[in-house]
Assembly symmetry: C2
Homo-oligomer: 351 residues x 2
């Protein structure tokens, strides 16, 4: 039987709760569709950092590189500075494995209502193609004159031609399989070195896709458009930071953060891709059995799709939709009283 | 009679349309409250740039510095690159006049409905205190290896202790006059040099205001909160870029961009402050008489307030509310058929 080697990093907080349920559902799908997932669990987390001083061991990247895919829960815990936990695990993995696409589809799932008034599900379907390897997140920069009146801090954003071109090209290819519309998030009126460059590359790539409608929108106006005219949006391509903001916002106007999956994708498949929920570790509700596992389960479906198990991926999607539409088993954020495990089990059974 | 010297820069597009109406309303308020506004109009604009190669003359800043206040329309026109028009006028003025606070109140005005379902006006009232002089908008950086495969572009964000501290302090002072709650927009998990520094200064200043509740929220989660739990927000303090995004978003969930005013404020009054709408020049609808002048009129009210004419400012606010509540005179974006001039005139008469 076809077997995939999957590394799982539950991480911190509710990452642990929801990863268990995703495994349950994916195993059910595998059994049903004639393949197997062999799971290897890693304890890379803030807890590990507190014990050992490192989020992951020195050979973490090389260990993980042998797997077919990675399923990541969430990282972050009070007491460990965020920039330590994220730059000690999530961000280096995205970069080491050249997962330069962060794919974040959002849609209104059955049984959920949008915070926006009078919107139908098809007006609220879009996908954020977020640049995941460079941009505003960078290690370059530093602090000068510490403790002096003239103290200042610099942060360098880095945009390369290679990096900008490949993410924009990915968005246009994706648009060909969907609505044939791409909107680029920019801020070339305020940010004068990097964003006009981003626009320039966008226009060059767009010219190669005459069949795809290309549009540019400043990030401030685009955030407004997500809530005012979501029906005008489908594929959005955005830098690392802008994509981060837009995907949380888009998730919030559709089913909420409990429902939004995310794939850190290496399109050339030279390294493993990594799948996670858009939401964080939510330490305040961790371990209480009330976290919504849907985002993580849908991230698992994206993983199956990436592995080529398209039918199994569709089955997971369909099972999620069925259980949510019935509404009998729902976690508190969905207005129900079910536990994380009950919702996971119901979806696994529906598969 | 008390007379204020006001410079007005209508700028481009609908900036011209709405500035006329703001003047009409402010003159009515002045007449009613026993003072006068002496207007001097400047043609600084993209049109001027096309004719002369400069958005404003070399002595533009020194000319404007003699005024009590500046009323700005909007800048930007197709054909003139945005980074040229903005960095040739708006941004240098904000900096030259040390208008380091960009104050952006939002609220749901009568006669308008929120795009959010089931929200009352008092859940939707907040103010964004945006840093206006440094941060992500900077001239530092540049392009390397132009046209080569290894091409890259750098953009430097600059946060100074002086700059961060003064804007955060302004937010806490403002919170004392309102809800006594400040939420700081951060991204210290992704942006590792500048945002942890911002957080550090925030915590230091917050400690001086034990009577004000201080909270920090990552920009992605905060954007989600604006649409999911706006009632939890009141004073938001944010960097230049984050404040730009949040204020468009917050305006979009309340009355829309046609209603959101903005003050570029020099709190020490060493230089003139400048008032403008949050919206842009919207060249597609310019000169058609359909632009909504309310944002610009409310920006004018903020100007009167800043000049110390509090009663007149209140009267303008009240007149706007009255005319909108009646709903008889409304521009197309408000669901009516009135022209920009008709709405401006109705508000002037109500004053
Ligand atoms: C036009 C642009 C540079 C400007 C900004 O981002 O500051 C505008 O969006 C604003 O909000 O005033
Ligand atoms: C935790 C943080 C660094 C991360 C990011 O901004 O990339 C998260 O918000 C996400 O969206 O995956």
């Amino acid at each position: 039987v076809r077997t995939y080697e999957i590394a799982t990093i539950p991480g911190d907080g509710i990452g642990v709760d929801v990863t268990v349920e995703a495994r349950r559902v994916l195993d059910a799908a595998a059994a049903e569709h004639g393949f197997a997932l062999r799971w290897t669990e890693f304890d890379y987390s803030c807890e590990r950092y507190s014990d050992t001083g490192a989020m992951m061991p020195e050979d973490g990247v090389s260990t993980l590189s042998g797997f077919d895919s990675i399923l990541l829960g969430a990282v972050g815990f009070p007491g460990v500075p965020d920039h330590v936990s994220l730059w000690g695990l999530l961000i280096p993995l995205r970069r080491a494995f050249s997962q330069y696409v962060n794919l974040r589809p959002v849609r209104l799932l059955p049984g959920t209502t949008s915070v926006l008034a009078n919107r139908t599900a098809d007006e609220l379907e879009m996908v954020i193609v977020r640049e995941n390897s460079e941009g505003e997140y960078s290690t370059l920069g530093g602090r000068h004159n510490q403790g002096q009146p003239g103290e200042f801090v610099l942060q360098e954003s880095v945009f390369t031609r290679v990096g900008v071109e490949r993410i924009i090209r990915y968005a246009f290819e994706l648009a060909r399989t969907r609505s044939k519309r791409v909107c680029s998030a920019t801020k070339s009126n305020g940010i004068i070195h990097t964003m006009p460059f981003w626009d320039e590359v966008f226009e060059l790539v767009a010219a190669e896709y005459p069949d795809v409608a290309a549009e540019q929108c400043h990030i401030d106006a685009l955030a407004a458009r997500v809530v005012q005219q979501p029906e005008r949006l489908d594929v959005i391509v955005a830098s690392n930071l802008f994509g981060d903001i837009l995907s949380d916002l888009a998730a919030a106007v559709t089913g909420g953060l409990g429902m939004a999956p995310s794939g850190n994708i290496n399109p050339e498949r030279t390294h493993p891709s990594m799948f996670e929920a858009v939401h964080g570790s939510a330490p305040d509700i961790a371990g209480k059995g009330i976290a919504n596992p849907v985002a993580q389960i849908l991230a698992g479906a994206m993983m199956l799709e990436h592995l080529g198990e398209t039918e199994a991926a569709r089955a997971v999607d369909a099972a999620v939709e069925k259980v949510l539409a019935e509404g009998r088993v729902a976690t508190p954020d969905l207005g129900g009283e079910a536990t994380t495990e009950q919702l996971g089990t119901a979806i696994a059974e529906a598969v």
